[in-house]
Symmetry: D2
Subunit: 253 residues, 4 copies
């Protein structure tokens, strides 16, 4: 068995990452957003790409009490000496319902674009929205439990994509689907940050699975703020007390 | 019960993170390194702090086959649809032996500096090294399984710290301990990247527990490259085959 | 918000689990297999059900170096003080490829049986196998990387199910599909332990999702033996060395 | 590199676990408690040992809303398709504060007993309690947030240990420490289930680290009931709503 990898290797006096020398080419030169771009695409980020990945990842870091940050804080309550477990618990909920949404958006946009066959973006957007509604299918990237009717991150992310030159076909398709969806439903509908991020990342050439990776890693970063606060000013016990105080036991076996 | 948090909150049309408006103040303006600094200190990063955190975190991201990346790839093998689990598995080994080292370095340096009482850095460095050797205690931040006698990241990290104005007392203490340790042992000893990082982060004012958080989050980012490669060019099965082929079962019950 | 649960609750002097008093009705009277049955069905296990759940779970505990146990040992290498993280890493690979197989078997058997409409088990088995082969779909519960042509656990599990009175329709369907598959392929094909377990658990009335839960919990138990051995007689470092020694770095960026 | 293991191995037609043939010696003959005993001791359980391990593990499975089960349910909310992640999140809090207590109890009892030097159990119990109080050290195994003044599991566990012949020196020491602690404090103090379990497991010859393993694995089993209920009758969203409704954002940066 020979295990082949192109990610990286190290010798006694050097570390190589994707063909670059870590110490000469990367440390002090790249930021984490640019590095993340290389991780998920295999090619070096230009300044625009690095800026956009930084922004997209910061938009999905954790900014308050979410299932993810609550799970992390409750885990810290039992095992404060193993804070890596609290971070892990916080990202384990990054699945189909939360945080996986940008991947789903990516899959839809890429599929629809691949079936374009010369038609206008408006036409294929309309077709996809009608198809999804007819088959009672949830369109990923739309709706939000809190941000209604506008997710404040969405116009900022699209604005950044435009100024960096990445507001391209997939973003236009997402926006066209948004307009079509609002027209049919007769009301404003949130195009959420995962929807905007998924579209921008498509236009930057990422695979959908890479999009979820970015969301997971950004959450790991954001959870640091939660756990630092939990360490100095804890609420974990308070959350537990609150849940107990509002629980009703009812056995109907 | 009232749960108090200063990390963040959101309303229908805004998201606040540590007193700043995410959409106006952060997206497109901060990079992930600067954001990470705010997460673990609670105060805004200046450009130097953001640059240093980016470098320190990139130095501990995963650049090859380590226990962390192997565990992540083996987890992906069984559950490719739940890639958040693979990332989580990869960071769960960030404990006392690996990746927690910068935290331990931070604890030592802060403790020694607090007991300084007007003495020179050389004096307290000598005292600590002698104390550790006498009590057969392992000094964190020294030694490396691969990088001998020099961890190539260490001079680069200290160089960056110097040019950004953060090569201060704790870095000097770490370097003085290094010299003393080599003098006593009569041979070159690696001052590893965790040692350099822990010292720099002390000089930037971080708590030791925050240092481990940075290492964990940086690993989450680095693991993206491993899992993206595992998806397109897998080695997980090969690792398993290799282990099986080299295993000897011996029951001595 | 009122949070309703029927699982359990506790007062100052009692603990209730699914309508029973833990101290009076359960401790010293139930074994873990019977308890596991209650967990996943909500109803008390009779002796046969407890025996079968014990056997099914023991069949999927970990008995050697698997991706799961290797990931757990590598995690322990970095964080021996947080052994819960090593167990967690070991179960995170229990997904669609490994350990989730009994759930998939359960879904197939229940779906096929629901579409029976008075036909014989042989007829619907034949139809399902032909359908799967025609659509190039992998039939869960068949094949094994090591146990060929017979998984030694399968006849034992079916034998136990028979003697406890649970070798019913779903088991017969699984066996009929097995015969049909071998007939069409013209060679012996392994009906693996996950296949047998899924069929037996169907005949015991479990939901498919509950089957994966049993596999995950049984793995948590089995991993104890791996981690106890890793503590006293470690191989984690050896696995890492082995991987490194057999790795070839090749950057084709 | 040769990797040596005595846990288990498999060939095409057999599976061996700690020197026994899984199919001939274990399936249908052992229950999970007996298997767990073998996992953590390396020797076969007699009927008494199997019964006690079943009881001890059932006493620490999860019977209501605890940090562990809340974290598991919140994780399920985001990733229902990856239920192994929810189980993992639920056990990651099994650390120094929760669930690790039986290990700590084991360490204390073994240390105190090793320093006995011919004295009576009452004498060494008194000495240890006085020492801990004088140095302001928390004695593990005492106190409980809910069960006051008696943890209802404790008398049942000690009763079972007695009838199975395992109420030996370490149990007596724990009980003597309990009496001494209550005498000094002048009030009733809970000897909790972790305290009773740790003492019993000491008398059965387990290493302290093995005790935490049992607690973790038992929690994995108990969490099945939580996740099965969450699937059919969810409260995860309700917990999140409750937390949000009781949160106050206050930035004092």
């Amino acid at each position: 068995v020979v295990l082949r990898t192109g990610v990286g290797t190290s010798t006694t006096d050097s570390i190589v990452f994707m063909g670059r020398d870590l110490c000469e080419d990367i440390l002090g030169k790249w930021d984490l957003g640019g590095y993340a771009f290389v991780c998920v695409t295999g090619r070096e980020a230009n300044d625009s790409e690095a800026r956009l990945v930084n922004a997209v990842m910061l938009a999905s870091a954790d900014h308050g009490f979410t299932p993810s940050s609550i799970a992390a804080r409750l885990t810290f309550l039992g095992a404060p000496e193993a804070i890596q477990g609290a971070i892990a618990a916080g990202i384990l909920g990054a699945g189909s319902v939360y945080l996986g949404a940008n991947e789903q958006v990516g899959r839809v946009l890429i599929r629809v674009m691949e079936g374009r066959r010369g038609r206008t973006i408006e036409t294929i957007a309309k077709e996809e929205v009608e198809r999804a509604l007819a088959s009672n299918e949830r369109l990923p990237g739309f709706g939000h439990p809190i941000h209604r009717p506008v997710d404040p991150r969405t116009p900022v992310l699209f604005g950044l994509a435009e100024s960096e030159g990445y507001l391209l076909e997939h973003c236009q398709l997402m926006q066209a689907m948004h307009e079509e969806l609002e027209r049919i439903m007769g009301r404003q509908i949130t195009l959420n940050a995962a929807g905007a991020s998924g579209a921008i990342l498509c236009d930057m050439g990422l695979m959908p699975s890479a999009m979820r990776l970015l969301a997971i890693a950004s959450r790991a970063i954001g959870l640091m703020s939660q756990l630092r606060e939990e360490e100095v000013s804890p609420v974990g016990q308070g959350i537990w007390d609150l849940v107990r105080a509002n629980t009703e036991y009812l056995w109907e076996g």
